[in-house]
Symmetry: C2
Subunit: 708 residues, 2 copies
């Protein structure tokens, strides 16, 4: 195999073989060759077709081994039945990378799965990297390699502009459409791969290669389903580390959408909450729409990075200023403060009836008087309390050329982001400003969303400190999980949590009612008393939970009652557990499950109505470090409850974050040895400290013990 990555090959390809080339440039099998010519591919094109001397006017070769120089890329345009032979030929000829268009594989369901596995094997044996099958190909502007058959290339006659923006799409159709939009709108998405069925090169692998290669300034991705979560984690980690912004549009956010996506891709969906957590971790900007994807790609590829979230808005309409203020507020941006000397400087530059507060309404004079524009924008860019400047204009067709020229000149004198909204008008200002590298949008909502993405990327969390994982946390885990029990009882579960560093409620197991009463006296009253059994899933329903017991006599009596109930219900394992009562300020839920895509993940949520009604939860692949644990806590919608809302004792957030870290390490260490771990509730006690009051560890495929 080549030591060049697929991305390196595509960016620099000089020799392209087209295996199965057709003389009819309108057919799918003829288009790539025609497009290469049409867009002026400067290298060599080798059509391979045993039945023709020449194809589309270019000398053809009977087989790949006849091609005079080893191609960098083979574009296999043959039907499915002939693909495997072609890939073997690539291997023999030393072609490092093949792009396979053919469909007829796993996307058909069962009958195609075998064919796909077979092709995968053949490619591996041949030592050929594969893009596809069932994709739309690849388009790389730097090499002018138009190795695709999408008709968007055909008629629009793109500029093939490259602003260092890459776009990897798991959807062939949407990939082609969006690439088309980008190219016709003058957005330099010059590095495009449609990954198809991903038998080899997947979206995460290509993102990682793009980051490694180094010349890509922003990556856009259209995600339908990730097979290997760890590859995505690794790719996003590297992108964040190297400062390469990534924006992803992921279909299947909702339950219904995920079902549709899973049925389409044939891969398991994975929880969208995990994606959301992963995106937060690595500063991935999530596109909610195609517009977002293109807009975020545009601004993230820019060279100006906001140093903070303080924005100044310069507008010619007070109402538009208020509108943009709404958007800023929605998106967590701050309005820069204009006071003192700077306010006076701005006022001096504006007509008498302008509004100097931020939003700064410079009035319609901005159209007629170039100084109003020039001076207000210049002062705003210099203002030390401004991290980014937003200018809203509109119509002004007669003035647009002059105004655009002024804005371009002003932007050059500053390194702060300047974004323009130009509503209405001829559309020319949008083109002019975007071409000059000043992001410009027709709708102020789009502008503000794009800026917010830019700010969020610039302010993305520091990469997590390395968390040591891989070793079992304690001998206890081996002991507990290895003893072949049908499941872990509550006390064993909490012992495991405690050994991992999670503070647990003071408690004692007891074999008899008398032992329970004695244990209660040692713990101190009031206590809770429960049945302890690996056999009972729903303790509360069975009536074997007693709270707030005040005396040893009460414990004895209730314990006898519990044992009697268990006895009558035919429960074999009928021990008892006595716990110190904890008065909760707030209840949380801390859990770990095995995500089908990402493996063990850590979930932190608020309990009570927040869990029941709002599903207020933060999820991250396990393990997480302190920074990220703090970020999870801060990301809860109900975080105010932890911060002393309405007279509550504030939680010790550092202690809570530490518990999340320790728990997440347990989650990662245990891996697939446990199906799930749940601490419910994790109580914030009257000292503000977290305590695990109940614990549940579910073993894979074993009988279950649920939280009481």
């Amino acid at each position: 195999m080549s030591d060049r990555t697929a991305i390196e090959i595509l960016l620099t390809a000089r020799r392209v073989a087209i295996v199965g080339a057709s003389d009819d440039g309108l057919k799918a099998s003829g288009r790539t060759q025609r497009y290469l010519k049409m867009y002026g591919f400067p290298g060599e094109v080798y059509p391979v077709n045993p039945r023709r001397e020449s194809v589309q006017g270019t000398r053809a070769y009977p087989s790949l081994s006849d091609v005079p120089q080893t191609p960098d890329v083979a574009v296999v345009v043959l039907p499915q039945a002939l693909v495997e032979d072609a890939v073997r030929d690539c291997g023999r000829a030393g072609v490092p990378l093949a792009i396979v268009f053919a469909s007829g594989y796993a996307e058909l369901g069962e009958e195609g799965v075998d064919r796909q596995q077979s092709l995968t094997r053949v490619a591996r044996e041949a030592g050929v990297r594969i893009i596809g099958p069932n994709g739309n190909g690849a388009v790389f502007a730097p090499s002018r390699l138009t190795a695709g058959f999408m008709t968007g290339l055909d008629q629009t006659r793109w500029e093939l502009r490259d602003d260092g923006i890459a776009f990897i799409s798991q959807s062939g159709a949407m990939g082609a459409f969006i690439l088309n939009m980008a190219q016709t709108e003058g957005l330099g998405v010059g590095r495009f791969v449609s990954t198809g069925n991903e038998i080899d090169l997947s979206l995460p692998m290509l993102i990682e290669q793009l980051v490694d290669e180094g010349s890509t300034r922003a990556v856009m991705g259209y995600v339908e389903g990730i097979r290997d979560g760890n590859r995505l984690v690794a790719a996003l980690h590297k992108a964040s580390e190297r400062g390469v912004p990534v924006t992803l549009m992921k279909v299947g956010r909702t339950e219904q959408g995920a079902a549709a996506a899973a049925s389409h891709t044939g891969s398991l969906a994975g929880s969208d909450d995990v994606y959301a957590g992963l995106f937060r971790r690595y500063g991935v900007q999530r596109a909610e729409s195609i517009e977002d994807l293109l807009d975020f790609g545009r601004v993230l590829a820019g060279v100006r990075h906001p140093r903070g979230r303080r924005v100044t808005i310069v507008t010619l309409s007070g109402g538009a200023g208020a509108l943009m203020t709404d958007y800023a507020s929605d998106l967590g941006l701050e309005m820069a403060s204009w006071t003192g000397e700077w306010r006076e400087r701005m006022a001096a530059a504006l007509p008498p009836f302008a509004s100097v507060g931020n939003p700064i309404d410079v009035t319609g004079a901005i159209a007629s008087d170039d100084r109003v524009l020039t001076e207000s924008v210049s002062i705003a860019l210099q203002h030390p309390g401004t991290d980014a400047l937003l200018v809203l204009l509109g119509n002004m067709e007669a003035e647009e050329e002059r105004v655009c020229a002024s804005l371009v000149r002003l932007a050059e004198q500053s390194d702060k982001p300047l974004l323009v909204t130009w509503v209405g008008g001829s559309g020319q200002a949008l083109k002019t400003l975007n071409a000059a590298g000043i992001p410009c949008f027709a709708d102020p909502r789009r502008t503000m969303r794009a800026l917010a993405a830019q700010v969020a990327f610039a302010a993305r969390p520091a990469l997590a400190e390395p968390v040591e994982v891989g070793a079992d946390p304690t001998d206890l885990a081996d002991h507990l999980l290895g003893r072949g029990a049908t499941g872990l009882d509550e006390v064993a579960a909490k012992a495991l949590l405690a050994a991992a560093g999670v503070p647990t409620v003071m408690e004692a197991a007891a074999g008899t009612a008398g032992d329970a009463a004695r244990a209660a006296a040692e713990l101190g009253f009031p206590v809770a008393l429960k049945l302890l059994s690996v056999d009972v899933a729903h303790k509360s329903e069975l009536g074997v939970v007693r709270l707030g017991l005040q005396t040893a006599e009460e414990v004895l009596r209730q314990a006898e009652d519990i044992v009697r109930i268990a006895d009558q219900a035919g429960v074999a394992d009928r021990r008892l557990v006595v716990q110190r009562m904890v008065a909760p300020e707030v209840e949380l839920i801390l859990g770990s499950v095995l995500d089908p895509v990402f493996g063990p993940v850590t979930m932190l949520g608020l309990g009570g109505v927040f869990a029941e009604v709002l599903a207020d939860v933060q999820v991250r692949p396990s393990p997480v470090g302190m920074t990220e644990a703090r970020e999870m806590i801060g990301g809860l919608r109900g975080v105010a409850l932890l911060r002393g809302a309405r007279g509550r004792k504030p939680a010790d957030e550092e202690a809570l974050a530490r518990v999340v870290v320790d728990f997440s390490r347990l989650s990662a260490d245990l891996g697939d040895r446990v199906e799930s771990i749940e601490v419910n509730p994790l109580v914030i006690d009257s000292n503000g400290l977290p305590v695990a009051v109940d614990g549940l560890v579910l073993l894979p495929a074993g009988p279950t013990e649920e939280a009481s």
Copy 2:
């Protein structure tokens, strides 16, 4: 005054005077005349200018009284100082409507306010209706009246298309920009008014006139600040009644945005929650962006109304289908169910590898095979379980003409909404389909939002049954509010609520500790005991609230303690109140405040963390009827708590709605005689019934009694 409304005049105007007409067609004072000519205004134009024989080649008149026939409209293009005289002249000449461009009024602050009041007076005395001042004018395509000076008219050379869509803008600049976007995008916004400072004709008045006139199919509005809330209520009521869809973009949703808007318009903001409630009541579709405003205007003006919220998605990309399913799920639309015979019919029409489930992935064959498109769309439109059909396509420049023609033909054979998303491509399909009345968008998120707006309008709540208001609910209110007290104590507040029909907790006031103990025995234990005093604002802080008392002795002892504390604190009014304890399943808050724009409004929210952290509240102008009260309950984010989430007893929602109705009538009846009423908590008891446990009535500017 004329018996024709301003809207009737503008739609039919045949004679236009331009007062202060300038020979220079590029000046603001010359543009209207030039535009009228440019766009082929078919009626008479009378320039009025005492210093010229002719203006822009048309005979000029020294004054309005010299004009041969009474103009329908006078466009006053004079500077501010000359406007009052011009308006007086309009009155003398019998001109019913004047559009005043001049600025220099209240938008300048104090100095302009006097001038504005003076102009208002002059216009009233002259019997002339006014649009403006400080607006951008009016553009009416049916009459080809281009009575504006916005340069958008100048260079774009609009078609002046009218699809019966009106646009009323309180922002001059944004109005002009958005009108420009609409016209250049071929959206027939043919009735436009920029209302400026609204000294006479306001946005609500013009909406009402548009509805009354009858030929307008949809109204778009850009709202910066409403002065007279009741006018807006009346206008939206009428629009809903007559089935005229309204979409409004309101700036100042957020606290910061509202502050910016208030500073810009000089009017009080009013609570955005009230607007949100009003929009729900009348099925007003709220635009979150300029795109929304135009998109919603487009679909709402359509003649096809969905009968329900069941959508079928036909797409050529499985991933795009999943994406659209996400959006449908986000927006509360349902995926139509395809089973049995219909599923078979669809399968028979599709290529073998298509996916027949909804979303229906017809594969790329839709491009090459017209029958795939024709049959799948035709079957989907016939499918009885489908209320609206969404088709997603893209690129296909070679096929777009044929595909568009097929879609137009298919749409004609059905009365169901058909919306198309066409991603990428040349842009021609968007134009073709939109021109043919098939809404088409480039981003599937926009399509789904537009459809959701259409569905929400079609399914808007029935208009509230009339609620009788105006009479005081009881003599008690007169008695309580009229007795000149410093405020209402808790018992009096609840007596008022009870008289209005709100169930209140069983309680008794007591003058002494002994009386309290006797009252407790009669009520039955356990009881709550509190200080009853008009002098104490914060009962809990003073330590004069005791809960869960079990015996008469305990009540006596605690009552003596409370009286002692009150005595020591120097409280003059130190009576007691004893209440039956109510075990709450859920706690709500019911309140009424005086909104600066809308007057008394009724608020319903969930208590506890929902109030503290989430501000989960529904607000409507008082009063509300049963339908709307049910809708308020259903609109709470935490409504699941009322519906038995996690084993709770479900609330009797009808009983709760009845309480909201009765309370809202009290709120409306009392009007500005009280500053606010708060029932906190309104408890759902163990029978699922609502009970007011505490009540607070705040009198205007009087001392306060707060909820304990």
